[in-house]
Symmetry: D2
Subunit: 296 residues, 4 copies
Amino acid sequence: MSELKFKGIVAYPITPFHPVKGGIDVEMLSRSIEKLIDSGVHAIAPLGSTGESAYLSDDEWDHAAEASIKQVANRVPVVVGISDLTTRNAIRRARFAEAQRADAVMVLPISYWKLSEEEIFEHYAAIGEAIGIPIMVYNNPATSGVDMSPLLISRLVRDIDAVTMVKESTGDIQRMHKLHQLSDGQIAFYNGSNPLALEAFVAGAVGWCTAAPNLIPELNIGLYDAVAAGQLDRARDLFYRQLPVLEFILKGGLPSTIKAGLQLDGLDVGAPRAPLAPLSIESRDTLSKLLSQARR
Amino acid sequence: MSELKFKGIVAYPITPFHPVKGGIDVEMLSRSIEKLIDSGVHAIAPLGSTGESAYLSDDEWDHAAEASIKQVANRVPVVVGISDLTTRNAIRRARFAEAQRADAVMVLPISYWKLSEEEIFEHYAAIGEAIGIPIMVYNNPATSGVDMSPLLISRLVRDIDAVTMVKESTGDIQRMHKLHQLSDGQIAFYNGSNPLALEAFVAGAVGWCTAAPNLIPELNIGLYDAVAAGQLDRARDLFYRQLPVLEFILKGGLPSTIKAGLQLDGLDVGAPRAPLAPLSIESRDTLSKLLSQARR
Amino acid sequence: MSELKFKGIVAYPITPFHPVKGGIDVEMLSRSIEKLIDSGVHAIAPLGSTGESAYLSDDEWDHAAEASIKQVANRVPVVVGISDLTTRNAIRRARFAEAQRADAVMVLPISYWKLSEEEIFEHYAAIGEAIGIPIMVYNNPATSGVDMSPLLISRLVRDIDAVTMVKESTGDIQRMHKLHQLSDGQIAFYNGSNPLALEAFVAGAVGWCTAAPNLIPELNIGLYDAVAAGQLDRARDLFYRQLPVLEFILKGGLPSTIKAGLQLDGLDVGAPRAPLAPLSIESRDTLSKLLSQARR
Amino acid sequence: MSELKFKGIVAYPITPFHPVKGGIDVEMLSRSIEKLIDSGVHAIAPLGSTGESAYLSDDEWDHAAEASIKQVANRVPVVVGISDLTTRNAIRRARFAEAQRADAVMVLPISYWKLSEEEIFEHYAAIGEAIGIPIMVYNNPATSGVDMSPLLISRLVRDIDAVTMVKESTGDIQRMHKLHQLSDGQIAFYNGSNPLALEAFVAGAVGWCTAAPNLIPELNIGLYDAVAAGQLDRARDLFYRQLPVLEFILKGGLPSTIKAGLQLDGLDVGAPRAPLAPLSIESRDTLSKLLSQARR
């Protein structure tokens, strides 16, 4: 199955906006993706939460998806975030991503009105039927407003062929235990909660979906490698070293903090889209200090 | 101030979709608005939560806004829901509503990434500067993912001229107390939580923003009149009579339940847009029974 | 049924400790009860939350129960809080209260380990079988750690003869709606959440269980009278006038704030028992100011 | 410092009640403690949550404390739970435990009225001043109703000499990260949440406080040993093997489930004290099956 393509560090690029024209800044997008690939991450996930996908028009979304996939150019696998409030537009995006040769799509059941379990199931089933590439189910109630129980998620995996991967971002390690238990260890689950990076790998996660490699890729990849090598003391040390950065970027909002961090590193990727605001000067100084401490 | 235009029962129309073409079904939209006006409601609020505003494309939204305002034709005041994830599109919609001669706009700070209080303030301030009609601030964390404290709301009212009304939908009557206290009783607040209909009026709400008048307008208007006349026993009786319907439509999701109820009443307004699903047959039967009991 | 004895304002005395000997200060207890009766409250509820019942030894509890009932001397009905972690000691206290001629007992299912609904039911049933006076079920998850659903409460009322009254203190007015609905308006429910004083009466509460009459009895009784007379504007005015005091005493902890308030009024009832601390000087000044404003 | 005494598996005995006389059944208590020591646990913690400490009279508590310490007879360290609602009785119990030669005391800030941070601090400080043995701070909001933030806990450790150990039972691994960060890895923290057994050790916990060794000591000790040896795959396997039992005993309430499990193993320790109920037959069958699967 295609899910074996994805393991290790799955990195989220930001989506830069052109300072004058306002649309996608393809040059900066390409450079930030290139930076990620150079750093050695194992996969790229454009148009996720970090990529401000929710704030793009459909045209912008298409533009960014196409440019991102082209830039990666098959050097690592690509999973594209295609989430949308309506099923019909989620399908449109999923088909677009497949046509552009994405390796998989990631789907968060964004809500305005709370969705029933049946409505969520039908949403995933409809997308699954419309495409020939795998789906990574993404659970993140803090941004989507929908919390999918491990039981529902395991049903999605079991009953919808296209669903082969799960990204869990609730920040509760016990959800991952439950996914393991409900599938006898067969569900390929990914950690989407940065502060659980160490424990999720220990609990059996096959990958870590994170925006952190934009700023501290060596530490992220180093943690993965240490756990894989069974070097627990080294893993714990690497984890606590990067934890302050992981907590800061999560708390400050990934688009704002990652864009600020890239600018600190010399890549001028601009501001997030309003109402999201750029980091304050004080917060940027804090980030700068935390990065220095982690990279020491 | 323009806010005095709005008091009593502020009714939410649904947005019907054309069964064949898929876009806005203007004829059905007009008929459902006409039904509301006939019933005697005091104001109309198109493109709110009930109106599936979040699930429309921009073209559809424009179409529905224009048609709704035209249909009301100044017989009662109109407040149009213009909420959008980005500030720039919220402004575009607000200007469109003003150009179509809406009396006010309603703004919910929809989020994907959690917004800071400053980001929320700037969102409202930017919309306020762009238009010449009043803003009703709308707090509904269950759908928007953003919970604005009474303190923040009172700051919006105080510091942004255009903000003159507040709709509170958390379901916590104590929020209304706090709005009263923070403004010495000066903030015009509206109740957006159906199960608090009685208590909110008693606590001083000037209006009740509700989709219930699509189905039980006499009971809604009757409750308002009874409280206004100081007939507490009558108000309590009317309230408990309609409460099962109010709870049912809230729990089942307003677009699905109101559309089902209108169909039960002979107005074929179709289904909500996927992933929202129409009511199941069992739920429709329950609704039918609850409506009969309330209308007895 | 005996429950008709209780309506209107059910007042909670504090339990004063002797400054030297450390046990119950019976003289001060008597004076504080006398003050309540003089003020015109409709019933007295010793050894509730306000009475620091949870912090007393069994001997102290017996002493306070006996002295309180004697002091009231049948001038108004008395409901004694007999809550304890174990069923056997709750029964012992209930029997003691009955032997002392209490009119009813109030029972909160205090927990350390979360109780199942069956365990809660059996707890109430065992107490009910042991005594011949009515039980007021008391739901207050914030102090007891147990939240009884309206469904469970209505089952207690229906299936245990002794249970004839319910005190709801969750602060959620919708719980009272549900009790009304589940019993066709037949359950005698009391409001135990001070900030809901106005709305609970409007929703049908027969009484308000509160420690506030230790400090502002005229306002508490006035609110009850205004609602009873259908004077809604007057009720609302009285409510908002006393609300800051009601919020302050709740937030600061009733034993600490009520004792401080009584001292401000010249009744030196001492400090609460450690770990509960007396009010700080700043908080006492705030309370003094809030009392002046409410009593103006 | 004395805290080095405690590491690895800290086991909680139950408190058996005499079937006829009703008080502490010392013989059964001794046998259940002996069983724990035989199994190889590293320390014993009588009169914790599992030991129904909250449901004992003072005489019973003293009796159980004395008998437990005597039975252990210095073969492993003993930490005695001395929690009580009042500071004065907590001190009395702490002194009693010290006089009986306990190695440390464990203190949970049980509440009825919510305690402020100052009240909690003073509670610990007063106990600390009264004794000469170390205190293990115990945070378990689910049973105590008080949630101590990592910041408050680290302040207790820093400012009260006697406080040298922390037991965290919220079930949130991020609390342990924070304790690590706030003390540069210097706070000795223990995991009190069974489902976090694996991850807590990985995050740096020095011990696991658990009632599970009453039933599956080899699996508990094996997990600790595997992590200590850096055998991550083996640790994960052992963890998932025992997790269903860990979840079951937590969800069913430790006194009820552990007593039922001991009876299944042939040690007739009787029922928990009402209102706590013994396991139903169905639940006992489930436990029996889960134990068989884990021990396979």
